[in-house]
Subunit: 261 residues, 2 copies
DNA sequence: AAACCTAGTTTCAACTATTGAAACAGCAGC
DNA sequence: GCTGCTGTTTCAATAGTTGAAACTAGGTTT
């Protein structure tokens, strides 16, 4: 589950893919090599294979590599049949309309939080520009509530991978304080982000759980300390929990989907 | 370049990934096995590795696999740094507003057309739900114009992979007729889809070319035979070509981008 | 309850692909 | 022409992949 911990050739190749994606801009072979643990010819072959496969795109004019279009197609499939995202959409719309604050839908991707949807209350959706973003699990509302409901074995692996970087004075910076926080979350059924990631930004979050208590994802409402307090946001808990239950219910019962034209 | 033609373990694993994505719904191991050329344990290991890597998601409750969330993250990167999609966005908005018909932006993915963006003139964008779709290259406007400007070696490989399935009476069903059509497209600088893919649906398409004449993608305006004729749509050619040139210019000059919050 | 499936998982020796040091090619600049 | 840099190919040692067969876990039939 630890992604880089030996999955053979495939794992290594995908690590290279991640690496290229992480640059955030098209890169030359040399740049990848400089950051890579692989020797030159090995890396070269990986890059070639990935390019062949359409997972990387090569620009011959500039001699640069970037994540390939095949990923967009695969992500479309991932998106369409993710039980969560398409099902949650109408619920998010309703929630967003009601609370008038930023709403996030997230899932755990390895040890990170991956945002699937965002509602800004004002304007409509612009998918790729915000879905697909990642964030830390240990200092975001959605991250913590998902961790709170993760089984021990997996939780330990995930915690071992957290950086515990101190973003703000309020960031939890140790596994111990995080574990306490997770217990508190389970006890009350929802969690907060009390300016732990960004100063002035607070949020309340709830997990979306299967019947068996496994976290499918999480839901959050974000606001600022100017406009809101944690106490004030706590009033939203019942509404959030109900929305989470509704999404979980739909996810459990409405599994088969097909494409729209 | 032919994707499945031997790229070692990595290629095989990615073929499995495609296969799972192609189902369009979460599948059990047995279902994949039934469609797979790989023996049981081999396939099993691929599926395990991909799941480990987050490229597939496993639902333990239902024992099903589906494309994983990691793809969404990678696609986000692909999207953000695709030279084409983010740059083209404002141009598509302008074009869409002006013509009042459906506008498509597409790229070649292996031998297929992959739609990156769509503007319906009416409502705003809903990304994942339409971007990421694929279509045939030999009988769509965008597909044909991109092929028309593809160098011979690659073109031959792509044509060899076309199904030439006859969607409508007007579909081109042979490599020869397609090649003639491609010559005609280069001669006039733009192409049509004359009800070749769907009856009643027509379109005009132009390539987006680099300085060196390599096709980055294509742009099209689609309409129906009720409302429009090919002759009528031909009037849009100069506008489309100008938009394509503008996009190509921006793509060449504005290469570095970073994330938005 | 025993016997019997079926779907999923593990084992292990044969085999084949991967690996990376080294050597090579292409190309800009001096 | 030489020099330095980036990207590409070679090839023998190595390490990972392969898949028949055997096994386990659940459920179903006799």
């Amino acid at each position: 589950m630890s992604r880089d911990h030996e999955d053979g050739t495939v794992g290594k190749a995908l690590a290279v893919l991640d690496q290229v994606a992480a640059f955030g801009h098209p890169v030359r072979f040399g740049e990848i090599l400089a950051q890579s643990a692989f020797p030159k010819p090995t890396l070269y072959r990986f890059v070639q294979t990935l390019t062949n496969q359409g997972m990387l795109a090569y620009n011959p004019d500039r001699q640069t590599y970037s994540p390939g279009v095949r990923l967009v197609r695969l992500a479309h499939a991932a998106w369409a049949q993710s039980t969560l995202a398409p099902i949650a959409r109408p619920h998010l719309d309703a929630l967003s309309a009601e609370v008038g604050e930023t709403v996030h839908l997230a899932q755990l991707d390895n040890a990170q939080v991956l945002y699937l949807e965002k509602r800004n209350a004002v304007q409509p959706v612009q998918m790729f520009s915000q879905a697909g973003k990642v964030g830390p699990a240990y200092c975001t509302g959605v991250g913590k509530v998902m961790l709170a409901y993760t089984e021990d074995a997996q939780l330990n692996r995930i915690i071992a991978q957290q950086s515990f970087h101190q973003f703000t004075p309020k960031t939890l910076t140790s596994a111990e304080s995080l574990m306490e926080e997770l217990d508190a979350i389970v006890a009350r059924g929802y969690g907060f982000d009390d300016e732990e990631h960004e100063p002035g930004i607070i949020c309340i979050a709830v997990p979306i759980l299967t019947e068996k208590g496994r976290p499918l994802g999480a839901l959050s409402v974000t606001s600022t300390t100017d406009r809101q307090t944690l106490k004030g946001m706590e009033k939203l808990a019942p509404l959030l929990q109900q929305t989470a239950r509704d999404i979980a219910y739909d996810a459990a019962n409405w599994h088969i989907r097909d494409e729209d034209s």
